[in-house]
Amino acid sequence: MEEFIGDLWHRVVTRQAQTDYPDAQVELAVLTPQLAPFYRAMGGSPGKVLEASQPRAFNTQRRLVQRIAGTHRRFSVSWQDERSVRLPPSLALFPERDINEDLYFWLTALAAKQSYLQHWFIDNLRASYELLAEKPGLKKTYNRLVSAVINQRELLTGSSGADQEGEMAIRQALRDPGCIQSLPRTKVGLLPVPLWLYPPPMQIVSIDSEDNLDECESGMATVSQIYGSRKEANRIDDSKETDGLLIFQLESLFSWTEQVELDRCQDEDDEDNLASAVEDLDIISLSRQRRAGAAKVKFDLDLPSVHNDELPVGDGIKLPEWNHQKSQLVKDFCLLQPMLADDAVPVAIPEHLNRTACHLKNRFAKLHLQRQWQYRQPYGEELDLDAWLDNETSPVCSQEEQPCFKARTANARELSCLLLADLSMSTDSALNADQRVIDVIRDTLLLFAEALSGSGDQFAIYGFSSVKNKQVRYNLLKNFSETYSDQARGRIIAIKPGFYTRMGAAIRQSTEILKQQKSQQRLLLIVSDGKPNDIDHYEGRYGIEDTRHAILDAKRQGIQPFCVTIDDKGNDYLPYLFGSQGYALVNDVSRLPTLLPKLYLNLVGLNS
């Protein structure tokens, strides 16, 4: 009963205190596909992402009902750092939906304009002023926003208050961003201004408490993701002797925001508790002492046990490797083991890719049906007058009957493409809150396979990783002879990141496979996320020289290699490996799945 009444009271009083308009609420997640290109077009750095910001506390003057309800203490304001632009996760400040939407676009434009913030008040005014001068179309939107903001502030602060002077200065500055130069001092904090950007949250000076147990990096057995906005984080010094012991004094209980001693690494089972704790905390302090519990240690150097591993096919293939120091090809140096995920379950195309896959398939299917005129045919639909004339007027006129017809036939492209995907451990790194690089590679392979199965082009997909020269794992995902089916799709979906990148051996084997194809054009497409490397001497120059040797060899055999990479340092070594025209660098990894089929069309010259 007590709980029920409390709940009811909470709801009533919160509704009384509420100043938002839930009916006009606009979500950041919905608008992001528009805001991101807008941000880039307005001059924002293409490397930054748009993310939701966390509410932060403001010491403002609150009305009685707001104090009772405990609202209007924390506000989601916008800010940015080198990595991202943070905007409120949703906006419902104004009664009209489109004004809330306009506010998002205004904030994005302001963030693009103002790359750093030295003085909150002056810099915001200056950026607003310059933006309005440069983009005259923004004036109307801005004026509408300003009058809505001022209305709302009157509603929230009332007309009387201790800090009328400061409030008035803000309102004046909003109306005319070109005129005011300083803000009068105020005792109580002013209401946050939703039209302006704020500095990043205060960071506690970081103390280096990292230790060197890097091997335990992925020690957690299950990682539960907290979706939504990103938490503020800071590092604390956690290297004291009293680890894990909470000094409990009833009279001075720590509040949530101060410090909670959660020794995450040494906790065993309370993942659920942690997840809920994370949601409650404003700031998460992390210390890096990665002594993970014994049960969770995972050595990525170890190969999986035989029972858990894929099925090795055959005894392995011996391949040479180029030693640049000796300038010689060392025979039978690598042992490449073809692997087949025989226990992969056949699956249909995943839900989230369905639409794109259909679209790509249809587009590629049109290429399949493309019919072209074939000239100088012995029989056909029309006379090839050019051929006949050529024959008649040729200085050496042949007496034999010449083929003088033209026929329209479905143009079978003489093309085989082998897609080789890097499945090394580095693809396990997180891309954003809910995606790893490997997930993007998986989607890429799936969409690529869907597209090519539509066009009827010959294609095969393989993945590779390695542990030294004796264990180069070459995963068969789809070979040239099988048709693309749920079985192959299941194998692609089952790919797992692991081990290292001995690229040379994988390229040599791919070259061998492509050589057996009788097509006129043979394309070796490599999708990678970094440099060739392995845990033995295969790194740096050695790895690059060996890979280059394998690529040059492939070229000599009439195969066209092309590399698609997401390594932003790729410009350093890729031209040396593949030639200036032989690679593409994808800046925005999330676009890789849709970019690769397009790139394929460009490569094979069908996109004109």
Binding site: P37, F38, A41, M42, L138, D390, E392, Q581, L599, V604
Partner: protein, 258 residues
């Protein structure tokens, strides 16, 4: 002499082209779509007093489309010179637009013309033509598309004097848009600012940047009575992308400028 083609030089391309013409060297012009490659060639031809023979290349273009072929007339078959042969005989600029679209074996015909020999053997008629002193070969292409199957052979590339074009800087572009469309300066300035914003979206959101040509089209449409927003929508948004979210983002961007 008045020149009917308007061209505003961005650098020393006019002098370079003149130098190449004086020495009988072929010229290769690279640049994104709609940045003024064709206009430059037409302008230079007019300045040098030479005729232009333009060939738009495509992948079905054969050597006989360039050199010539026999045709059937009332009197029987007769030989018809192709545009390349005509330019070689009469003297003029033979301009191969988007040359990478042509198959590599077709462009090999150009080899003897583009080195010191300056000859064109016409196999069908058994002629060996020496190029007219005023003959000049100019090719252009857009290096933006990565294409393994298409592209110039290194042996072809190495015969040309290369000029690289890009979109003009903002002040020049405003002048060009005003001149070409007759638009008012402030309209042209906003269009160019919008164009430069759109160019930042290249690679991320757009496959190709908004060209000067598109900006001129937009200005022309504004002149003929469309509102700025309508004109931008039909001349910029639609030609640049099919993606709905990107279209909406560009729509927002247009609102910011007009």
């Amino acid at each position: 002499m008045t020149i009917s083609n308007y061209y505003l030089p961005q650098g020393r391309e006019v002098e370079i082209f003149k130098g190449a013409a004086a020495n009988g060297l072929p010229v290769m012009i690279k640049g994104p779509t709609g940045c003024g490659k064709t206009r430059f060639v037409e302008y230079m031809a007019e300045r040098l007093g030479r005729k232009v023979y333009t060939i738009a290349c495509h992948d079905d273009l054969t050597a006989s489309d360039l050199v010539g072929r026999h045709l059937i007339g009332a009197e029987g078959t007769f030989w018809q010179d192709g545009p390349l042969t005509r330019a070689v005989r009469e003297g003029g600029i033979c301009y191969l637009d988007e040359v990478v679209e042509a198959r590599k074996d077709t462009t090999v015909v150009l080899h003897p013309l583009s080195d010191h020999r300056r000859i064109l053997p016409v196999e069908r008629t058994g002629e060996l033509l020496h190029a007219h002193p005023d003959f000049m070969l100019v090719i252009s292409y857009n290096p933006g598309y990565q294409n393994l199957m298409k592209g110039l052979k290194p042996s072809t590339r190495q015969r040309f004097v290369g000029l690289s074009f890009n979109y003009p800087d903002a002040d020049r572009e405003v002048l060009i848009v005003c001149q070409e469309s007759g638009a008012e300066k402030n309209v042209a300035q906003q269009l160019v600012a919008l164009g430069n914003d759109l160019r930042r979206m290249k690679d991320h959101d757009l496959e190709e940047a908004a060209s000067t040509r598109l900006l001129i089209y937009t200005a022309l449409m504004i002149n003929s009575g469309l509102t700025a927003k309508e004109a931008c929508s039909v001349c910029l948004v639609e030609p640049l992308t099919d993606d709905l979210a990107t279209q909406q983002a560009i729509g927002r961007l247009i609102d910011v400028h007009f």
